[in-house]
């Protein structure tokens, strides 16, 4: 049992990740959060659902995490003026999630920041798209988006507004810098520009269609999302996919990590105007993507994972290709790592830039790769090692400096570790003809969780089914929710021109965050 709290009944959830769920009352929310926080736990996700059709009203869901497992709390709210006590005082990462939950469902929190988060005047204030009775046509509005940014006053302070349209081709986000000269006093982010109603779309989808959509929540993490989605469906169905399918999923996940780390390491060179690094790393990334296309029919491995198993197999001849790729990547990446580490002008830009102290990281719930660069020793592949990671003995990459240099080092370490894992998976992969135990239909009124350590951090997908077993609510959660607010702290007291570098060292998702 992960936590003990008077009156709290936790029941274990089936599935690959160790998880429990339980219903709580309004008054229990803050004390439970407090006790999880005090025991070193943190918040993974917070979302709401409209269950007025089958129950008393809305329900607030929270997933907390401590070293024993995931704790999913369900807090029933009334149908009229649903509200719950604020938890952002305990878990600062909850702030934006609470605001987003209000924008989508109208469930109110009593936190200090009551501004909208995802709603950019695309729908009327007072109408909530994730309510089952939401009428998109009626909710259209001409009102202008009004978002009061926090003002910084003082002699010589001025604002630089950047985005959502940028000079380069990148995802849209707005960054409001309050600066004195070149020094950043405060950064405030605003997102939601890529909100495309993914969660609403899930509601009208079949299980298989949902798997495809889950793989498109954030294109760079398609494997992580597809696996988390599949894990959640298997958790509801109470099934376990065939062994070979699990090993192949891990192979895909590591390949996704390899490709993204290679790409990021290139960009981290480019952002200090070291274009040589960019082109060299991107040659390597391109090789990985081409091998993906040749072996698994898709460069980014989309739709390779489906509920119940995987849809593509690794041919015997492919093993040799992967082993050769491992050797090549290891050789080349070692050379490039030496160049990066011995290049004085690169290291001068990396060292000490965008520092996130381990204490702050723990307070704010920094997770994933960025968390590991700030002493947050946490990797779902290690702590919650599901098959096949329980047999792979993953070595966690941790650094204590918390600056851009540390995040680069963690990327390099994880790249080499993933290459080692890929080699190990290929050599240990057992032959089998069964790749999938097809899941056609889920049990009614089910709830399942999937948690996967993607390259950016832990990706979670939660699925609720209705009485007929259809998808009633699917909530994909990106680690960027936790990490974007930390970026606001990482830039403080740095100079404005260092922001792109710091931002890239986190490389957080916009699409996965805005949904």
């Amino acid at each position: 049992m992960p936590i003990i709290h008077p009156g709290l009944q936790l029941t274990p959830l089936h599935g690959a990740a160790p998880a429990w769920q339980g219903f709580i009352g309004q008054d229990d929310l803050q004390p439970i959060c407090r006790s999880v926080c005090d025991s070193g736990g943190r918040l993974v996700a917070l979302w709401g659902s409209d269950e007025r059709a089958s129950g008393p009203g809305f329900v607030l869901h929270l997933v907390l995490l401590n070293e024993t497992g995931l704790i999913c709390l369900h807090l029933p709210l009334s149908a009229v003026q649903p509200a719950y006590p604020d938890v952002s005082e305990i878990f600062p990462a909850a702030g934006r999630m609470q605001r987003a939950a209000y924008d989508l469902l109208g469930i109110a929190h009593n936190g200090t920041d009551q501004r909208q988060w995802l709603r950019h005047a695309a729908w009327r204030s007072g109408s909530f798209p994730l309510c089952k009775d939401f009428d998109a046509v009626q909710s259209r509005t001409d009102e202008l988006d009004n978002y009061p940014f926090v003002q910084v006053a003082g002699h010589g302070v001025h604002e630089i507004a950047v985005g959502p349209v940028h000079a380069g081709i990148i995802e849209p986000g707005h960054f409001r810098f309050s600066v004195v000269g070149e020094k950043v006093l405060r950064l405030e982010e605003r997102f939601g520009y890529t909100h495309k109603g993914i969660e609403k779309r899930f509601e009208s989808m079949s299980l298989g269609q949902g798997a495809k959509l889950a793989g498109r929540v954030s294109g760079d993490s398609t494997v992580a999302y597809a696996w988390a989605y599949a894990m959640a469906t298997e958790s509801i169905a109470g099934t376990t996919p065939p062994d070979r399918a699990l090993w192949l999923r891990a192979l895909f996940l590591e390949r996704e990590r390899i490709a993204n780390h290679l790409g990021d390491l290139g960009f981290l060179g480019n952002d200090v105007a070291f274009s040589f690094g960019l082109t060299q790393f991107w040659i390597l990334k391109e090789q990985v993507l081409r091998n993906n296309a040749a072996l698994f029919e898709h460069r980014y491995l989309m739709d390779t994972i489906c509920p119940g198993g995987v849809s593509v197999d690794l041919a015997e001849s492919g093993k040799q290709i992967l082993l050769e790729e491992c050797a090549m990547l290891e050789r080349e990446a070692h050379l490039l790592r030496n160049i990066y580490e011995e290049h004085a002008s690169i290291q001068d830009r990396y060292m000490g830039t965008g520092y996130v102290a381990p204490k702050l990281a723990a307070q704010l719930g920094l997770c994933g790769l960025a968390g590991r660069a700030s002493s947050q020793v946490w990797d779902a592949r290690v702590q919650f090692a599901c098959a096949p990671y329980d047999q792979l003995d993953v070595r966690i990459a941790v650094h204590h400096n918390g600056d851009v240099a540390a995040r680069v080092i963690v990327r390099f370490d994880e790249l080499f570790e993933s290459l080692r894992l890929q080699r190990k998976i290929v050599s240990k992969l057992m032959p089998s003809d069964i790749l999938m135990l097809p899941l056609e239909k889920l049990p009614g009124n089910g709830f399942g969780l999937g948690l996967v350590e993607g390259w950016r951090g832990e990706v979670m997908v939660a699925i609720h089914t209705d009485a007929q077993g259809n998808l009633a609510r699917v909530h994909p959660h990106d680690p960027s929710w936790q990490n974007w607010p930390v970026l606001e702290h990482a830039i403080m007291n740095n100079v404005v021109p260092d922001f792109p570098l710091i931002n890239k060292s986190f490389n957080l998702s916009y699409s996965g965050h805005d949904l």
Partner: protein, 320 residues
Amino acid sequence: MIINAVQIPAVVFQLTQLLLVVLAAPLLTGWVNQCQAWLQNRSGAGVLQPYRVLHKLFLKDAVIAYNASWLFRVTPYVVFGCMWLAATIIPIIAVDLPFSRAADVIALVGVFALARMFGALAAMDIGTAFGTMGARREMMVSFLAEPALLMVLFTASMLSHSTQLPYIVSAFSRHQFMLYPSLAFAALAFLIVLLAENARIPVDNPNTHLELTMIHEAMILEYSARHLALIEWASSLKLFAYFSIGIALFLPYGIAEVGHWSALPLSILLLLFKLALAGVGLALFEALSAKMRIFRAPEFLGTAFLLAVLGLLIHFLLSA
């Protein structure tokens, strides 16, 4: 004014250089970019790419901010004019060009400053955060680079006893190859100034899309179409002019005397060779270095000033 027989060749030489610089400047930029591409294992867009870009930009319709004043509109023409003038008066194909007498080295620095002033004012004119940010960074870099450049030019003036470019160049080119220690220091200082003034790595990055890191590019973010084309062309001319100054001061060998028709082809060929070589050098230097944090730029340019002053002192100490 009566053009007598003596002046005709000079005018022809001058016109040749006038056209050569304006037409060849984008080629130089294309060459530097192509060398960079090769050094990064890319195939590159070819040396003619800047011409294609200019062509494309001249065909487009200009978009101008509502609150842009006349300053914003005239700046591209002023900047282009200044850079063309600068590139024209530097003796590169022949020594005694008529236009060269129009301005000495101090006026040349002034011409660059004029273009910069207009650029910075226009960047602030439309009132965007980026324009202002770029303008103030540009002024920070240039107010540090300018004295260093002047010191370099003074060192050359001391050696040739004139601030007139034709005299300086002919004084250097007529000598047999001779190593001036003071000029060696000046050359190093000049190299740093060249990188800073032309928005090259490690001070600025001409290829970046990261608006917060930009210096020169941030100033011109609001320009489009023909205005942008003129500014891009002016940047090419500026690079050409700086390369020309470098060649005129430190490698003038092979330059033609006005009226020596037979020397002209060789002079142009030599010039192209020197420019190509300098382009490779620039690309190589850029490929090997990362961009420095913006507040390192003062140290970097301070080094340039120090080197230039050392050059000057050495001249007085050693008379060489």
